[in-house]
């Protein structure tokens, strides 16, 4: 990373993102009911400043706070067939998609990016609960496969943030087939000897939990996240009894041995840096490390970064609105190049 992208760019980015966040917006905490000033909430990573409740955070907001200086490059995801089943319930599936795209400003329910955290090169994927409940369909499957392939190509760890109600029913059996497909993606990472870290966020349920979210080398969850296969309501209907307090919440799963850690969002980045550096044999992170312009890239901490990525324009950090989609396009196109070059469309090793 050069000085421009590491230092100047974030400042520009933060100017942009500030402008996009409505100044006078208040959000009510769904847990304690406190009215929170949006700017303050965003600065606190969408964690309630009163009760510590972890609210949903979009992939872009998460990446902006995760990557060094908020700088990352999007990894292009191959577009799947639109509406493969010609699915229609009370609405047509393409209409539901359009509505979700309009309200989120995103193409689909997962964002994949590459960049550095604490000067540690990683690939990250984050599921977007605001996009049709984060549901896993062909696109999410393609995104995870693209993320794994990119990580293998760059020899980097993959950090995946899960958040989904499960499989996308409108893609029927093809959504179910993302369970084996994403499992193949995890196998690519394992066979390449690369760490695969899953951060389970609220909620992670159904076929998502029963595939890539439970196959990590390390499982970290955000506090109080609902993590399950069958939802609590379905279970209560089946067994006809009340479930215990905190059932299927992150702390409960930690107690039952399904997770390695439950970590507050404010500590997540630091833990991910520590973990990925140890698992990839890098020396401890130098805190507050920001090289002066003259030093340039550090060969030791960023060994796998190819020139093509180095020169790619970093994605704009912060929330992206619908109207901004066009502005972000060139970034996507540019960052797409390295991924598109890898035309080995998922040959399992």
């Amino acid at each position: 990373m050069n000085w421009i992208s590491n230092y100047v760019r974030p400042k520009i980015n933060s100017l942009f993102s500030r402008r996009e966040v409505p100044e006078n917006l208040w959000t009510k905490c769904s847990e304690c009911g406190t009215m929170l000033f949006h700017r303050e909430l965003a600065d606190n990573l969408m964690v309630c400043t009163n009760c510590d409740h972890h609210m949903a955070i979009t992939p872009r907001e998460r990446f902006a706070s995760l990557f060094d200086g908020g700088v990352y490059t999007e990894v292009k995801v191959p577009a799947p067939v639109t509406d493969p089943l010609h699915f229609k319930d009370q609405k047509r599936y393409p209409d539901r998609m359009k509505a979700a795209q309009k309200s989120t400003g995103e193409e689909e329910a997962m964002l994949v990016a590459e960049g550095e955290i604490g000067r540690t090169p990683i690939v990250a994927a984050a599921q977007d609960f605001s996009f049709m409940g984060g549901s896993m369909g062909m696109y999410v499957g393609n995104a995870i496969i693209a993320a794994a392939q990119r990580a293998v190509k760059l020899k980097r760890p993959l950090v995946l943030f899960s958040a989904a109600g499960g499989a996308r029913m409108q893609e029927g059996i093809l959504s179910l087939m993302q369970m084996p497909r994403t499992t193949v993606a995890v196998q690519m990472l394992k066979e390449a000897g690369l760490p695969y870290i899953v951060v389970l966020t609220h909620p992670t349920t159904g076929g998502v939990t029963a595939s890539y979210a439970m196959l990590g080398d390390v499982h970290i969850a955000e506090p109080n996240a609902l993590i399950c296969f069958a939802g609590p309501r379905v279970i209560e209907q089946t067994i006809r009894e009340k479930l215990p307090e905190g059932f299927q919440r992150a702390e409960y799963l930690l107690d039952h041995g399904m997770l390695d850690r439950v970590t507050h969002r404010s500590q997540m980045r630091a833990e991910l840096i520590t973990l990925t550096r140890m698992l990839t044999g890098l020396p401890p992170e130098v805190k507050g490390d920001l090289p002066p312009p003259s030093i340039g890239p550090d060969a030791e901490t960023a060994p796998e970064l190819p020139a093509a990525v180095e020169n790619a324009e970093p994605a704009k950090a912060g929330a992206k609105t619908a109207g901004d989609a066009a502005a972000a396009k060139p970034v996507t196109a540019k960052s797409a190049k390295p991924a598109a070059d890898a035309k080995d469309k998922g040959t399992a090793k």
């Binding site: 493969p84 319930d89 029913m169 059996i173 084996p180 497909r181 196959l215 296969f229 379905v234 067994i239």
Partner: protein, 320 residues
């Protein structure tokens, strides 16, 4: 005693009438009813053919769940010899919803694993209606490992409404168990042939059906969610299951068109429940053929091809 499905009611009437006539004739030797009864038989036969020629997706769901449909143990008993059940996950329990063990198929040793639903009240409860707990998937993982180590092909028979949604099942890691079972399906270096003989219910089915070759019986189903569940979520009305069954494309025919399954095994007229042995034998022939097709390939070639098959899956949708 035939169990009739709701849509088979007109058929039940005709077959019932024929049966009644013959019963009367048995009681009274003076009566000659055979001609009349035979006419009813012919009528019933025609109706049966017509009904089953064009089953709607929802009717297929009912057939797939038919209580008289042959279940996993029926296949094991008829198709395999020397069946040696192997129990337990070595961690917690033996799950009776999943059977597994060594057996011979035409003298060749294989590992057979499947969901068993049970055939009467007692066995249904014992088998938990074919809904596996984590121990069932962990037993399957253990048996797949065993097969892999001793170079034995694996045959899985899928018939489950889904994984069991229970408190203990969740506490003991239902998700993790399913994920690992699917992962093991994708990593073993021996042939894996799977047949959906009834219901392929969501993740609970995927954990066994992630195979080199996936076969479905003509009237079986494979779906991300039950039509009732889908209807209650998307239509906010569980009674819209007919519409949901239609929309989900859960029939063997649609899944073949989508490239999700490799082969459809035709069922006897009126479904597997009417001619159980014939249905089981047809499945047996398919398994033998597919294992033959896969034999001789080394572990890596099998694994690579299996993974590629899933990576490529879904690249085309249904024709417009």
């Amino acid at each position: 005693m035939q169990n009739y499905l709701e849509f088979e009611k007109p058929l039940a009437e005709i077959e019932g009438k024929a049966e009644e006539l013959r019963a009367m004739a048995r009681a009274n030797s003076e009566m000659d009813v055979e001609k009349e009864a035979a006419a009813l038989d012919a009528k019933a036969d025609k109706m049966l053919r017509e009904l089953y020629a064009e089953l709607t997706p929802w009717r297929k769901c009912q057939v797939a769940r038919h209580p008289n449909r042959p279940h996993c143990m029926d296949y094991v008993n008829r198709l395999f010899t020397d069946f040696m059940p192997l129990a337990g996950d070595r961690n917690f329990a033996d799950d009776h919803a999943v059977i597994g063990g060594l057996a011979r198929l035409e003298d060749r040793p294989v590992m057979v694993i499947g969901h068993e639903k049970g055939h009467d009240t007692k066995t249904r409860i014992e088998r938990n209606f074919g809904m596996a707990r984590p121990e069932g998937y962990r037993k399957a993982i253990r048996l797949m490992d065993l097969a892999d180590r001793f170079r034995l092909p694996v045959v899985t028979l899928v018939d489950t409404p889904g994984a069991y949604p229970g408190k203990g099942a969740e506490e003991r890691g239902q998700s993790e168990a399913i994920a690992r079972s699917t992962e093991r399906c994708l990593s073993i270096g021996v042939p894996l042939v799977s047949v959906i003989i009834g219901e392929g219910g969501s993740g609970g089915a995927v954990a066994f059906a992630t195979a080199d070759r996936l076969v479905m019986l003509e009237h079986s189903i494979y779906s991300v969610i039950s039509p009732e569940g889908c209807a209650s979520i998307l239509w906010k009305d569980a009674e819209k299951m007919r519409e949901a069954a239609e929309a989900l494309r859960l029939t063997a025919q649609d899944l073949k068109a989508l490239g999700v399954i490799d082969r459809i095994v035709k069922e006897p007229v009126g479904g597997a429940q009417r001619a159980r042995d014939a249905a089981i034998d047809a499945v047996g022939r398919s398994i033998v053929e597919l294992l033959e097709e896969l034999s001789g390939k080394d572990g890596k070639a099998l694994r690579d091809a299996r993974r590629q098959k899933f990576l490529d899956m879904g690249s085309k949708g249904l024709a417009a």
